[in-house]
Amino acid sequence: MLFSNEGIARHINQYFEAAWEMVRPVPVVRIDFGNGNIVTRTLHGNIATYVCTRDGRVLDALPGVYTPGAYLDCLDQFRLLAEYIKGRGPAALADYHQAQATALRKNETPGRLVLDMRAFASKAKIEDPIKFVLNPAAGAKQPGARAANGSQPRFENVQDLASWDALIEDTRRNETVHRGQIHELLGRCGLVTPDKVVKPLYKDILQADLDDPYLGLGKTLFGSYPFKAEDSR
């Protein structure tokens, strides 16, 4: 789990005040094979990570799962974003989201927040040490490349390797398609509390309508079920 990762936990504890919330109970599937073997899995469990101002308004959000390296990089960007916006206000945040959404829509590398290292080298105070760099240089990490960032875990079997590859693909999709959608959503909403964006984020971006009792799986579950009429009697 991400929060068992030492580097991620240390970064969060150092730079954020953290909390978690349940958006709805998780669907659990239990298959009893009748011979004492029971398999338990969660179904359709999706996550979102928000960075918020000190008074609880959303600055940015990450949709879904990430590789540890990519997640850590995004958290650091969140830290810098909070500082960047602090001195600039809502208009700067709107510009940030618009620029990011535009870049991702055009399949370009989104802008990055960078810390002016002269802030540490010189005794003179540097105004605005954090810069938002559009079209960062070729050396900057592409969202897709960030997915595989960081140390790769050791795999004991082929299934673990397949899971890791799936996680990299999820990260890539989250950092490109879904992040673009989030920037557009947050650009429209402005500085709001998380409860104002949680439902559209889950429904339109994570494909999990929190108001649907079957989380969009009703057709899959019941569409071709041969005993539906019999069970409904």
Binding site: R10, E21, V26, T49, G56
Partner: protein, 112 residues
């Protein structure tokens, strides 16, 4: 009184007529010797002692199959505040931004 009413009263009339002869034995029908037959007891008085015996000698009812219990686990190594509001309060003091994690289920449940 018309014929229909008289017809409907006929069974009642028969019962009333025969009532003195139902459920009672006259002196002429008693056994010539021996004790009098016991008076029939109310149903409650018969059944209550039986119920008590069954209750006292029965084991506990078989437990219904337990609902799924999601085991509790540590929610990683992050220092989580108890709520988003608490995190915001702490952020006002520390100057740090707030990180809010949303999920289905609970982060301290094994299956989440």
């Amino acid at each position: 009184m018309n014929r229909r009413c008289r017809a409907s009263l006929w069974p009642a009339a028969v019962l009333i007529t025969l009532a003195p002869f139902m459920g009672r034995t006259g002196a002429a029908d008693r056994a010539p010797s021996g004790p009098a037959e016991p008076v029939l007891q109310p149903k409650r008085q018969i059944e209550s002692p039986v119920k008590q015996v069954i209750h006292d000698r029965s084991g506990p009812a078989a437990a219904a199959p337990a609902d799924f219990v999601n085991p509790k686990v540590e929610p990683g190594k992050v220092r989580w505040h108890a709520s988003f509001a608490a995190a915001c309060t702490a952020a006002q003091q520390s100057g740090k931004p707030v990180l809010l994690f949303h999920l289905m289920g609970k982060l301290d449940d094994q299956f989440c």
